[in-house]
Subunit: 354 residues, 2 copies
Amino acid sequence: MKKHILVIPGDGIGPEVTAWGKAVLEQIASQYGHEFTYDEALMGHAGIEATGNPLPDETLEKAKASDAILFGAIGHIKYDNDPSAKVRPEQGLLKIRKELGLYANLRPIMLFDELLDASSLKPAVLRGTDILFFRELTGDVYFGEKSRSEDRNTASDLMIYHRYEVERIAHKAYQAAQARSKRLCSVDKANVLESSRLWREVVQEIAKQYPDVETEHMFIDNAAMQLVKNPKKFDVVLTANLFGDILTDEASQIAGSMGMLASASVGDGTGFFEPIHGSAHDIAGQDKANPLASILSVALMLEISFGLKDEAKRITTAIDHVLKAGYRTGDIADTLTQPDKILGTKAMGEMVLQ
Amino acid sequence: MKKHILVIPGDGIGPEVTAWGKAVLEQIASQYGHEFTYDEALMGHAGIEATGNPLPDETLEKAKASDAILFGAIGHIKYDNDPSAKVRPEQGLLKIRKELGLYANLRPIMLFDELLDASSLKPAVLRGTDILFFRELTGDVYFGEKSRSEDRNTASDLMIYHRYEVERIAHKAYQAAQARSKRLCSVDKANVLESSRLWREVVQEIAKQYPDVETEHMFIDNAAMQLVKNPKKFDVVLTANLFGDILTDEASQIAGSMGMLASASVGDGTGFFEPIHGSAHDIAGQDKANPLASILSVALMLEISFGLKDEAKRITTAIDHVLKAGYRTGDIADTLTQPDKILGTKAMGEMVLQ
Ligand SMILES: CC(C)[C@H](C(=O)O)[C@@H](O)C(=O)O
Ligand SMILES: CC(C)[C@H](C(=O)O)[C@@H](O)C(=O)O
């Protein structure tokens, strides 16, 4: 198989972890006889530094020409504490999602048995959890009109949904539910929000087309609670952009660490694969970051964009072996980890390659 | 002390649990020689059934004339699955918050040692957690303009904040932080939302007036994650209406059950006290509901609205005793609970009175 992959390392720990995602891609290509070609581009703070633009035109062109994109992380502390900054790294990520029509963000919550103890939740609560989030990614209050009054004392963002936006992601989520355990939970705040009432109406309609899938509707506050109380309750979770942002980060604790979670954004064309962790500037460049989420992003790419299931499985199996052998990065280590088995980014990356 | 208290039982389990809150008030009054007078009024589904209005005029008048309000719960499953219903129970709650100027919702996350095991989080993660949430309650996407296009295919809600709204709750939160451990975490989504950027700007300004308090700003997705990972990290948490709704429900799992959490809404005039749990129609009228959150709401009323600290302490001590003696309602029982110590609503209420 011939594929062209764009690598966008981004900010903070992005470059370090993405290097290992790419290394794994290269190894898979040579082992399975695929021909993967690569290009690289800038985004986020890195884009601003080089060109003044968080999403340089060149990056967008390269992205459109690619079969899949491996992305690292975005963001810089400098902007976080300056609410009045006009140009911000995150704009690059939001714009590329919109421009590439990446309306469906898939976030599987994978549980490696070996990491059950790394979570703050009790193993008995966790065991058996397997959730697949479908987060809408190109609508909602993220993209609705923003405004600031002239005296700067009033600020607003429009939370808005169109029927077609809900329909297309609902179909994707229901199809996934059919291929899994046939349960879908749609999360909204329909008791308060008009946009959530539209969301619920549309999901209720689409549900009729998938009579074999059992649908539940839940309010976001309740969902945030149930996810801690009894995560096993959930299978496919379908939700809006903002609620999905919150719930999936919360759910990352189920997997022991954000350092273990990958996500796939798909839609009209090329697919976009990234760890759900952020740029973590506090540990950037220190060989401390966990490269597994980037490597798992590559597994998602192989499976979802290229349909290469065996190759994807090969990667998750390799990770499983490394974890079973007791190796950990700092974020997933616990009191039982042998000190000499706590690895840096490079050592962990190499361990997975072997 | 002479006080006039309005009791609004509301929907579902509201009447059952509120009865015990009121019984505790009566006992405190007689023990400490206070003169509490009571009135009762309808709201929510109960208001709609009786008058067609989720907040009957009479209820609002009585509320304005009261020194404090004890509220039960709101909501009915019938409306939840009918996104097109025009009149909804929740409108009553939202309207009374707005009409009474209840802009600050205080939600303390209290940890009873005895309940450490009832949580899905590990006891070691929980122990020592003590969080006080300040949730803004009369602004945000809850009250911004809602709209639905004529073809009904587009729906929106305006997420909007005015400077004065952020200022007044920020002051309350900082004052509370000064009286506690002098740490405040403000939660927003300033990397994406303009309303959050205003929020962060204003909090940064107010922070300067409280130099003895250490301020941290956190994105909502990260906060939702950290709350599970390391709840001890938080002390006073200040946040907007929607984010507060989500975070406090999530945090309820820290206390073992929503059945244990009370909240106080304060602002321009009378105070409003309610359990954070909902109407729980599935167990309504079955003598199963946990009355402790309503009783704890009464403790908050005595302390916050009437300044009666000893009386409030008397209540939490009584609850502590009952829990220490091994008594539980179903929601907070675990495998170690003796079956004959699992109590219904009434038995638990009486146990606390004793
Ligand atoms: C960086 C930020 C804009 C982004 C989001 O909120 O979507 C991130 O939190 C994510 O979840 O991908
Ligand atoms: C019932 C609902 C409108 C309400 C809210 O969202 O504010 C509830 O969840 C709460 O937290 O008090």
